[in-house]
């Protein structure tokens, strides 16, 4: 009779401390619950973004309270406000500097479509320069709407193959 090697056999003493899962599910669980936003506050919508972050609405309940002003440390750019053509290359450059995986929420009418600014100075929707994952309607959207967008984004991330975004540029 061959004695089973203690390293490779099932050890009943640690049963219950092991969870079996898929890599995708585990990685996405980590990602969705600590999604650090890059607050791209460009106009009035940024005020609502600040309200979302403060105590009354408390975006920390969804793991996104760590606003990072460095693109290197952030996962999700929240474009809150009117993107002018003068600012657009800057927004794009900051997006390029964010490390993959990265997502974008277009908050409000201006970021989604140019809003009421049908003029020579305003970019007609931030999706002309960066890929947008979730659009939020409203002028400005209420903080609840932004939280809802964040939850929608989390639902989307949960369904993604976890490594797909790691190596793609977008």
């Amino acid at each position: 009779m061959v004695a089973a090697s203690p390293e490779v056999t099932y050890n009943s003493k640690i049963e219950g401390d092991i969870t079996v899962t898929r890599v995708d599910a585990a990685i996405n669980w980590l990602r969705t619950n600590s999604m650090w936003p890059m607050p791209m506050g460009l106009a009035c919508c940024a005020i609502e973004l600040m309200a979302t972050a403060s105590s009354r609405f408390d975006i920390a309940r969804f793991g996104a309270e760590v606003m990072r002003f460095s693109p290197r440390q952030s996962d999700c750019m929240i474009v809150a406000g009117t993107v002018t053509y003068k600012m657009a290359p800057v927004v794009r450059r900051i997006y390029d500097q964010m490390a993959a995986p990265k997502w974008v929420i277009a908050m409000g009418a201006c970021a989604s479509s140019g809003g009421m600014y049908r003029s020579y100075a305003t970019l007609q929707g931030v999706d002309r320069i960066i890929p947008v994952d979730v659009y939020v309607s409203g002028c400005p959207p209420r903080p609840e709407a932004l939280l809802d967008a964040l939850m929608k984004l989390q639902a989307k991330v949960r369904q993604e193959p976890a490594l797909k975004k790691q190596f793609s540029a977008a």
């Binding site: 290359p89 794009r92 049908r118 100075a121 320069i129």
Partner: protein
């Protein structure tokens, strides 16, 4: 609002070339471009108009000559009254005006804005660059012939421009422009009546 009633007489004695300009509120004067600075200087030092409220310009459209008028608004912090001074630019193609930055440091940004929007060169300005649009922007947006929707051009950053392909485009005007004009019947004044959307039936205006 109080008005400086003594001012028009005092100015016309000192500056015979300054003609009264029709005005509904404060005293206003038309001066020749080369006499504008002397009048502004007099208003500041002798009449107590120490605060330059605004420098702006008017484009009377390409058919009118002289086409551009520069307007200064002054305020007196002792008399609590306003005065307006206007001067026409001699050239319609290369409008220019002497700078008032020597009299008020605050004229700097106002003049840069007037240059940015109308293309009026303020001669002697220490740093006449665009202030709102980026430096390489080819148009002057508040000129009459410039459409509200804008004209296609490049964005300021060359490599980002190359990456995204199309830079600045004309804004869609479906349902707009979104401004109401006073004095018209409501059906003609409201934004919806001014729909500049183009369709198969209505050609895009050139």
């Amino acid at each position: 609002m109080t008005t400086d009633v003594a001012l028009p007489t005092a100015v016309s004695l000192q500056f015979p070339s300054a003609a009264p300009r029709p005005s509904l509120d404060c005293p206003a004067f038309n001066v020749p471009a080369d006499g504008a600075l002397a009048l502004l200087h007099y208003l500041r030092d002798t009449q107590g108009y120490d605060f330059l409220m605004d420098v702006t310009a008017i484009d009377w459209s390409a058919e009118v000559s002289p086409r551009f008028t520069v307007v200064w608004h002054l305020y007196s912090s002792t008399k609590h009254t306003y005065v307006r001074v206007a001067a026409e630019c001699a050239s319609d193609a290369e409008p220019a005006m002497p700078t008032a930055t020597g009299l008020w440091a605050g004229a700097d940004w106002h003049e840069r804005e007037a240059y940015d929007m109308f293309g009026i060169k303020f001669t002697g300005h220490p740093d006449l660059r665009r202030i709102l649009m980026w430096d390489a922007y080819p148009y002057f947006p508040l000129r009459k012939e410039f459409p509200l929707a804008g004209l296609p051009t490049e964005m300021s950053d060359a490599d980002i421009n190359a990456e995204i392909g199309v830079g600045v485009i004309s804004a869609p005007m479906v349902g707009g422009p979104f401004v109401a004009t006073p004095g018209e019947p409501m059906s003609a004044a409201e934004p919806r009546a001014k729909d500049e959307a183009w369709s198969e039936k209505r050609e895009k205006p050139e």
